[in-house]
Amino acid sequence: MSSPKTLYDKIWDAHVAHEAEDGTCLLYIDRHLVHEVTSPQAFEGLRMAGRKVHAPDKTIAVPDHNVPTTAGRDDPKNMTEDSAIQVAALDSNAKEFGIHYYPVSDVRQGIVHIVGPEQGWTLPGMTVVCGDSHTATHGAFGALAHGIGTSEVEHVLATQTLIQKKSLNMKVEITGKLRPGVTAKDITMSVIGATGTAGGTGYVIEYCGEAIRDLSMEGRMTVCNMAIEGGARAGLIAPDEKTFEYCKGRPHAPKGAQWEAALTHWKTLFTDEGAHFDKVVTLKGEDIAPSVTWGTSPEDVLPITAVVPSPEDFEGGKVEAVARSLDYMGLKPGTPLSEIEIDTVFIGSCTNGRIEDLRAAAEIVKGKKIKEGMRAMVVPGSGLVRAQAEEEGIADIFKEAGFEWRLAGCSMCLAMNPDQLAEGERCASTSNRNFEGRQGYKGRTHLVSPGMAAAAAISGKLTDVREMM
């Protein structure tokens, strides 16, 4: 009998196309997702070398980072010139190289990490890459998924493989049940709070435990999405009945006899009893609280009931980093997090831009108005999420409360489009990074769950969502 394997071991082993003596492998890639920002130089490289896309059927492109989220955006005149050039380059590269493409005008367009699963491109046991660090999202399906740089994008386009060495195995177990008001976002931020942003460096994480099993597929995507914020190459969750149910019937999911064959294979995708993990982290579900970041690194996270820490609470290089981030954030140590006033709310992104996220926010917003002077926007993760929210009446709840109801895209998560924070503005955001300048020059970001963002929009300050439930 062969030795017990982790889920990562199994997916890895099934995708090694070549292994050199020193352990350097060519890992075969099943799905390559492409967007407009990190791909132009890669396609240009192919052209210069006279190379083709090796597997155009496995390559899917969608513009998301640059696109405005307001009406009239399919007219390039409504984009800045440099954004329009990048989107036009993706348009023409998709045509020239014959890859699958969802243009801005297509209702299926959206954030690449929302479109992939929605269209059934992402399936259990696959390898998935994209020139974007949040590719980790797809790990929720038990797919080995991670971000790559543009040189690697070119490498995958040309060869459908990636030069890799295997990472170590890390297990993150969330035991027991979550308390009311606590979400997948709070899980993933709390894990980063516990391990630090470099805690996962060199590892592929498998998330497991009752609290993870209890999450919906969308919640699992939120958890895996931020694996990269913990430094991990990828995050994984073993597929189960929820996964299969989610995949079934999607446009690019297998059908008929192929579905049955796929299902048989997918049911083997779990970590064997006794398999070795190089590192194990365990959190109790009941200990996780609605969380919020106070600084400029995702590891700067605390329960909403806590106070802003002081640089002296830290050690080593973090002392200076905390002093710098408190200065950037305009916060004083000792201030209760629930007293921090905010002026902007952003609900969306590949972390929290799916229908369940919008439902959770709408639940809090229903029948209320946002605070006077608040700028609050909801940006669905895809055109289909938007359509569904409109059908369910969720869009009306947001609009009646005073939220802007936008078209799909990355929007204010990274401010490469018109949705940005102005200098000094402070935002409760459902996105994934609170780095300096991430949402706009000198903008201040507090990462929260969709319910927490909704609560903040109403009260005008960071608020414990449990008070509004």
Binding site: A14, H18, G147, T201, L414
Partner: protein, 201 residues
Amino acid sequence: MDKFETLTGIAAPMPLVNIDTDMIIPKQFLKTIKRSGLGANLFDEMRFDRQGNEIPDFVLNKPQYREAEILVAGENFGCGSSREHAPWAIKDFGIKAVIAPSYADIFYNNCFKNGIIPIVLPQEQVDVLMKDAEKGANARMTIDLDAQTVTSSDGEVFNFEVDSFKKHCLMNGLDDIGLTMEKASSIETFEKAAEQARPWV
């Protein structure tokens, strides 16, 4: 790709931890369809004020570090986005090596694709080199990739580890894609087997 063999140059100290890719090259500079020209905006929001004037306190604006070819930095350097614009900007500025206790995974890989050596050393050794870098332009460090050593301006030698394949590619300036294409038959064999085993993919 440019080869990297040895380098003797000025090292700029950046002791901050978690220097992220948004700091290295802010998002507004990602809207290029070229690889070149990003050095002008390396560390843009730390290096320039809103009017585009240099912030004198920022290390790379100081006269002694303007010609720096090495960065000495805090742990988890390059965390955040997968943007290869980060190493492109570093390289375009003229920096060919980074020394830090740890790096984010994607950034680390991206460096090797661009002729930059990201050197990992234990915190205590980085601290020694940080102090050395703080001496300014007269304190030149030497990196020898073949020997896998960093030599401080005082002659203190530190050994570092690097993956043998990555080292080989960097020392010879090899193009990954060309190397992989030599293994086209392995990829083809794999694809045929996978088509049988997992036809739904």
